[in-house]
Amino acid sequence: MLDRKKLSSAYFTKNKIVQHQIDSFDEFIGHGLQKVVDEMGIIETEIGDASSGTKTYVRLETVSVGHPVVKEADGAVDRLFPSDARLRNLTYSAPINLTMTVVQDGVESDPKSVEIGVTPIMLRSKACNLYGLTDAEIQSHGEDPLDPGGYFITNGTERVIMTLEDLAPNKIMTEMDHRYGDRVEIAKVFSERYGYRALTVVERGRKSILEVSFPSLPGRINFVVLVRALGLETDKDLVDAVSDDPDIREFMKENLEEAVNLGVFTQENALEELGSVVATRQAREYQTRRIGYVLDRYLLPHLGNSEEERMVKAHYLARMAEACFELAIGRRNVDDKDHYANKRLKLAGNLMEDLFRVSFNRLARDIKYQIERASMRKRELNIMTVIRPDVLTQRIVYPLATGNWVGGRTGVAQLLDRTDQISSLSHLRRVISPLSRTQPHFEARDLHPTQWGRLCPSETPEGPNCGLVKNFAQMVELSTGLEDTETIRNELHAYGVSAV
């Protein structure tokens, strides 16, 4: 038999206990920042004319993070260690440097690395000044070698970014509801891309008619109309996309009839119909433009936001429709929302990424404004002067210091509990659920068998947060989502899967 003692002690080396926090933050510093910068790509301005190629813009290149420093009042810059940060009420943060190239009148200037702001650094992460030091060295810097790190220091206070538990995005979930005594089968998906979440719902209402709703759309729209607008034009394509099951194809007949009643036969018809829904009482031309934008931007954004992906979206909607029908005829069950396979954890790194994305967008807007202002006043464009690092810094440090995250979530960053060593460790391994604690939510509070080995069955607070606040199990290991879709695509292709 395996010597469990050995296994346990291997897990309880001092770094293992908050490894998830540190790994996640390292991931953010290593790839997350660059990802956010790449999403933006360039900062465009209103100066110049795109058609004549004289447009002024800034190209964003590599981003890097230094080591925590303190800027003294006399301008001196010193390496900062956590103990100093705590004692002097400083923020333990390191500068973020971004290489940028200004393109003006079609002429590229030399790329320049500029400090765009600072970000708080997680203790014991790769960017931390304590990284790689021996216990004796750590001690000489006034730090406890047994302190696990995994938290931040803002204005001298130790802050933990809580791990958030959320329903898995980009996954079709089925539900059953009742509306005026009728059974309604619902297939839902939280589609997420670049921190933007859009809930898309397909439901089978009365008479088996499918309806879809997604953001920026008032009410619900007919499924067939939407899919037709996306490019699945013929009845056959449409039905084939949904299912090859004869029972389900039967249901689809009624839906196709409904589309006939609405007078929608072609993609053009469908787009017109939808246009009148999204932009009522507007010019026809605006309506078509608007519906195209809405379909690309707000419908299932995780599949992409350009016109090419419309067909993919149509097929995805067909999958959702199939799920509804399968649920209706009892071929599948309602998804268990509390099943841990349907949950995803947002760790410190993911949350910092969200924060950085919003702050960086703000910074980009500010840079754009500053460039435009500089050009209005006929000043020479100098990238150093148009960047105000405080814009970014403020927006990163403030949420961390108060816990009020972007998107209106509160309590994300909390003051590290230092009652004793154990309470600190427990705090760093805590998972919180976004469900409101004022509602009963009996099922969400239950200990679910799938939490075995992942979350502690015993440790949960008593009182209103019972079962909503959880803690990791002793030996939990977190796997991270794969960003590299290319490899998956290739792998699937090798198995003979063809693209839509």
Binding site: D336, D338, H339, T438, P440, F442, R445, D446, L447, H448, P449, T450, W452, P457, S458, T460, E462, G463, P464, C466, G467
Partner: protein, 877 residues
């Protein structure tokens, strides 16, 4: 200021609208500038802080009433709105009126006959003291449907309303001035139909032309440490209104295009709306510069922290204290231990009269620091003097008749003691003060049940009454001893708990106690004499525990009943009960039977009940005090402990329990056979159940039986001399079920009444095969707590345990809300002297209080009747 005359009785309250003229009349000044103070810090005339609006700065006098800050109630000003604005509070009413009156002649869209009918109906309801809401609603419903005016024949257009203050007539926006004009023409005689009294209100007054400016006392500005003034939210809002009003005026005079005028009008309407209510749907709330939304008029009134719930229904009080509670069995149940630091802070006021002047002088002399001292004196001229260490001698010498002295709380004072949630009348009781060292309130653990208190960090509140009437009322009606019997079920709510019961149980089963021990046990209960010894052995006398217990029973007490430990045999052997479960008390002597929860426990104690009813509350309190002390001595004499080895059962028993388990799983009438039957569709469904439900039910039944049988098996080996058994049997704490779980088998874990079903697809945990319906796979814990649970069992147990935790957490919040709704529904009901329960209108809710007029804590109970019957039967001819 005017002198307040004798109190008057309010006969009725009339609600109406204030007319613009009245607004102007009550106003002390028109407000025209948005500025508040000039550079020198003086309020600007006709500005928002005009000195005529009242005073808030101490030392200044009001320009209107000449009162000082605190005396002057403040005075309204007004703003003349350039264009009329809708009052949000009446937005719905305005909509209804637009729909029910003619767009041309403004008359009610009902013919004279219908109108008369409705007016009569409304008048009838009014005279009966009923609300007139429903007939008025019918009027609106009926009149809105009319398409052609019955008077002028005008065709009516469709009125649509857009939240919060916009009205359209067939898509055309109606300006407030148009609406006001429309309403002005509604004749007075049509108004009663809408429930409006034309003498008190006119519909056009729902559209404001004059905005009253609340006095500065309503919106005081605060001065920050930096010396800056920070204005109240209302003032900020008024500034906005005046600014827009001015701009509107300028644009109007300059002849600006209609589009701009309308925009400004809308902006003014927005500010007027948010001034009254900043949480109306349809518009974004007005915000402070920092992003915080402003707290305007309706926000001040609404909700838990609003004026009504926060300041009128409930308020903060003086002369109160709060701290952690801890137990002190040496106190009487009537007492409460108070830390000296609190006693020094809380005071009772006494008037100086010849009888008490020397006593009070001594308190004053002792000053505020030495405990029974005094903090303040009030002279005859009403001036309040603080007693300090330096002035105490001087003030003591000056003390005269007619002064008042605020004396420290001291030993013997009556105070009120309370623990939230105050769910019944016993949640607030009067206690006598005992000043003690320490920082916690101390109370006798026997009074925990009525407060539902324990000592795991609970805090309680204390209130000191400030006049003699209140103290007398508390001492007579609210003392702890007056509340021993609960009116809820007519039994004692105060009595022995936990160790008291175990102690009594052990003591009254004690056979031989020597003289030393007997006296020691009785020492604290104030008994000095022993009765004749039970028997004498080798020249040393011995007493029984029953004899010792009898010493604290009052003479003349007679009782006969079955104790808690009674096993309810088919034929009761009475006095010869093998378990000594038949209690006979004759003339204050316990002849046979064991004393346990049924005799002295809170909620059950028959002896407590009887003593209180027959010998009075004082005797009851004395009995509880003595009994608890005796019980504690008794348990110490016997010695009492519980450890892991008390759960030991013999090997054979363990084997037998395993046998029971195995049998239930795989035996003849087992789960395995049930599942087999189910899978072969041979299982007979119970009526009204599917076969699957039947299977679950049957399995649950079997598993329940397994636990019980295992428990019984274990119980055979655990006798009454086992501590846990003694506690369970006597009713002190725990049950035989708990013991069975510890020693034999924990049993089935459940979530919401069913076995554990959720988890992975087709199974609860990956430890099992898919589709396994067996006991282990769905949360049956075969192990006992002592033997230890397997990991899977432990996890299922945690699942079951979590449900209980969630339940308690959710229930506490729900019961608070339930309580609030009950209080709101019942608060105005009152029991009258004639025995009826009536509401404030005098309507009878209950012809007799509680339908029988009986107070269960005082009335005859069946023991009385039994006793009377017995007395009569046994009476000598």
């Amino acid at each position: 200021m005017k002198q307040i005359s004798a109190p008057k009785r309010i006969s009725r309250i009339k609600f109406g609208l204030i007319s613009p003229r009245e607004y102007r009349n009550m106003s002390v000044t028109r407000i025209i500038t948005a500025d508040t103070y000039d550079e020198d810090g003086f309020p600007i005339d006709m500005g928002l802080m005009d000195p005529r609006l009242g005073v808030i700065d101490p030392g200044l006098r009001c320009k209107t009433c000449n009162g000082r800050a605190g005396e002057c109630p403040g005075h309204f000003g007004h703003i003349e709105l350039v264009a009329p604005c809708v009052h949000v509070g009446f937005a719905k009413q305005i909509r209804n009126l637009l729909r029910s009156t003619c767009r041309s002649c403004s008359r009610l869209l009902l013919d004279a006959g219908r109108k008369k009918e409705y007016i009569e109906q409304i008048a009838a309801r009014r005279s009966q003291g009923q609300t007139i809401d429903s007939p008025v609603e019918y009027v609106f419903a009926e009149a809105s449907k009319v398409e052609v005016c019955p008077y002028c024949g005008e065709h009516q257009l469709k009125i649509t309303y857009e939240k919060p203050t916009t009205y359209y007539e067939d898509g055309d926006k109606q300006l407030p001035s148009d609406i006001r004009n429309w309403f002005e023409h509604i004749p007075d005689e049509d108004l009663p139909v809408f429930g409006i009294d034309p003498n008190n209100a006119r519909p056009e007054w729902m559209i404001l032309t004059v905005l009253p400016v609340p006095p500065v006392t309503v919106r005081p500005s605060i001065i920050l440490q930096t010396g800056q003034r920070s204005e109240d939210d209302l003032t900020h809002k008024l500034v906005d209104i005046i600014r827009i009003n001015q701009r509107f005026q300028e644009n109007k005079e300059a002849g600006a295009p209609q589009l701009i005028i309308e925009d400004l009008w809308e902006l003014l309407q927005y500010h007027v709306t948010t001034f009254m209510d900043n949480s109306v749907s349809g518009i974004p709330p007005a915000r402070h510069r920092s992003g915080r939304s402003l707290k305007t008029l309706s926000q001040r009134l609404k909700g838990k922290e609003g004026r009504f719930r926060g300041n009128l229904s409930g308020k903060r009080v003086n002369f109160s204290a709060r701290t952690v509670i801890s137990p002190d069995p040496n106190l009487s149940i009537n007492e409460v231990g108070i830390p000296e630091a609190i006693a020094r802070e809380l005071t009772v006021t006494f008037k100086v009269v010849p009888r008490n002047i020397e006593e009070l002088r001594e308190y004053v002399r002792r000053g505020p620091v030495n405990h029974p001292g005094a903090n303040y004196v009030v002279r005859t001229d009403g001036h309040r003097l603080r007693i300090s260490d330096t002035t105490r001698e001087e003030i003591a010498d000056m003390l005269e008749y007619g002064w008042f002295v605020d004396r420290h709380l001291k030993e013997g004072d009556i105070v009120l003691f309370n623990r939230q949630p105050s769910l019944h009348k016993m949640s607030i009781m009067a206690h006598e003060v005992r000043v003690m060292p320490g920082k916690t309130f101390r109370l006798n653990p026997a009074v925990c049940p009525p407060y539902n208190a324990d000592f795991d960090g609970d805090e309680m509140n204390l209130h000191v009454q400030q006049n003699e009437e209140a103290r007398a009322e508390a001492a007579i009606l609210m003392r702890v001893q007056e509340n021993i019997l609960s009116p809820r079920f007519g039994g004692p709510i105060i009595g022995g708990i936990h160790d008291h019961i175990t102690g009594m149980f052990l003591l009254t089963r004690e056979k031989a106690i020597d003289k030393n021990s007997a006296l020691e046990i009785l020492r604290k209960s104030g008994v000095r004499d022993l009765p004749q010894p039970d028997y004498i052995e080798d020249g040393t006398p011995y007493w029984t525990g029953k004899q010792i217990f009898s010493q604290i029973l009052p003479e003349g007490l007679n009782l006969e009943y079955n104790a808690e430990i009674c096993e309810e045999c088919d034929e009761c052997k009475k006095e010869n009960c093998p378990n000594d479960a038949y209690v006979v008390i004759s003339n204050g002597e316990l002849l046979c039977g064991t004393i346990d929860e049924k005799s002295i426990g809170a909620f059950k104690g028959k002896i407590v009940n009887k003593i209180v009813r027959e010998f009075g509350t004082a005797a009851g309190a004395a009995f509880i005090d003595n009994m608890t002390n005796l019980a504690i001595r008794g348990i110490m004499y016997h010695g009492f402990s519980f450890g892991i080895d008390d759960e030991d059962i013999p090997k054979e028993a363990v084997k037998q329990i395993q046998e029971i388990n195995k049998d239930a799983m795989y035996g003849k009438e087992s789960i395995a056979s049930l599942i087999d039957k189910y899978e072969h569709n041979e299982l007979e469904s119970l009526p009204g159940r599917s076969s699957e439900e039947t299977l679950e039910l049957r399995i649950m039944q079997i598993l329940g039986r397994v636990r019980d049988e295992a428990g019984d098996k274990a119980g055979l080996h655990l006798g009454i001399d086992n501590s846990a058994v003694a506690m369970a049997v006597s009713g002190a704490r725990g049950s035989m079920l708990n013991l069975a779980q510890m020693a034999a088998c924990v049993g089935q874990q459940s979530v919401r009444g069913a076995r554990i079903q959720r988890g992975y697809s087709g199974r609860t945990l990956p430890h099992f095969k898919k589709g396994d319906r067996g006991a282990e796979a769905h949360g049956f814990v075969q192990a006992s707590y002592k033997s230890g649970l397997s990991p899977v069992e432990y996890f299922f147990h945690a699942i079951g345990g979590r449900e209980g935790l969630v339940d308690t957490a959710v229930r506490t919040s729900q019961s608070g809300y339930l309580q609030r709704r009950m209080v709101n529904a019942l608060q105005d009901l009152e029991a009258q002297h004639d025995g009826t329960v009536r509401d404030t209108r005098g309507m009878i809710v209950q012809a007799k209080y509680g339908e029988d007029g009986v107070d269960p804590s005082r009335g005859f109970d069946r023991y009385h009747i039994q006793r009377i019957v017995k007395d009569v039967m046994e009476a000598p001819e």
